[in-house]
């Protein structure tokens, strides 16, 4: 009967909306993918982004200071000369959640991004390139922090 079907559909939509807000439904491709950002280790974050075990590579460059005076604002750049790269990511090993940012790479932008991040303490910082076939290549550097950037 028409009314009953419409009511059922409306109820389903309402429930779906509630579930989506609660994070129980798969998000659309454009929404934030929290699994990688919630990972507690560099290895888990990379796995959540579809990469295998990372391999060090001279073709991935990380730009970061040797000593960061202010851990709340540490400039970090990630770049690569490799073709076939799907995304570039910046990770701070000792942060509560290592993944800082990920940048999708496509033919309209240079695979070279600069941003500023918070570091809780002196730590290794990783620049990682993940290729279209799931390989992870990285470069890392120890950045010393004189004043931690997570507050408190």
């Amino acid at each position: 009967m028409k009314t009953t079907r419409r009511q059922t559909l409306q109820q389903s939509a309402a429930v779906a909306a509630l579930l989506a807000t609660a994070g129980l439904l798969p998000r659309t491709a454009l929404a934030w993918t929290p699994a990688a950002f919630e990972a507690k280790t560099v290895a888990d974050a990379l796995k959540a982004m579809g990469a295998g075990a990372p391999v060090e590579s001279k073709d991935v460059t990380l730009t970061a200071p040797d000593i960061a005076e202010n851990g709340a604002v540490v400039p970090m750049g990630v770049a690569t000369t490799l073709a076939n790269v799907k995304l570039l990511a910046v990770l701070v090993e000792k942060n509560p959640s290592p993944l800082v940012a990920r940048f999708d790479v496509n033919e309209s932008v240079e695979p070279n991004f600069l941003t500023r991040a918070k570091m809780g303490q002196s730590s290794d910082v990783y620049a990682v390139a993940i290729t279209n076939d799931g390989k992870a290549l990285f470069s890392k550097k120890e950045v010393k922090v004189t004043l931690g950037g997570c507050g408190g």
Binding site: L30, A31, W32, T33, A36, F37, A72, V73, V74, P75, G77, V92, N95, P96, S97, L99, V100, A101, R102, F103, D104, N106, E107, S108, V109, E110, N112, F113, L114, T115, R116, A117, K118, M119, G149, C150, G151, G152
Partner: protein, 103 residues
């Protein structure tokens, strides 16, 4: 509505170097207020940019990006007069878009 982003796009050869300074608290969710309660996470999660309407940048950020975030990227095949629009979305669902012209 947050303060506007400051976007500077400069032509360099066949590309445009785009620098963006956004206005956002980027609260990590790690801090506690004076009464000991955790200040909830509030930060930009998605950043996108278009060049003359065509999507060119897609980035995802976690709470570790610094407060009032800065970002620099280079758009290929851009020239003076082209329009670059940058948008962000945060974990509360707020969004903001600002535009600049390549100079």
């Amino acid at each position: 509505m947050a303060d506007p982003m400051r976007i500077r796009a400069q032509a360099k050869g066949n590309d445009a170097v785009v620098r963006v300074l956004m206005s956002h608290e980027m609260e990590t969710g790690q801090r506690k207020d004076s009464s000991g309660k955790v200040i909830p996470a509030w930060h930009i999660t998605d950043v996108t940019a278009t060049h003359n309407g065509k999507p060119v940048l897609k980035a995802e950020w976690g709470p570790a990006v610094a407060k009032n975030p800065f970002m620099q990227f280079t758009v290929k095949g851009a020239k003076a007069g082209d329009k670059i629009a940058v948008s962000w979305k945060d974990n509360r669902g707020d969004t903001r878009t600002d535009e600049a012209t390549v100079s």
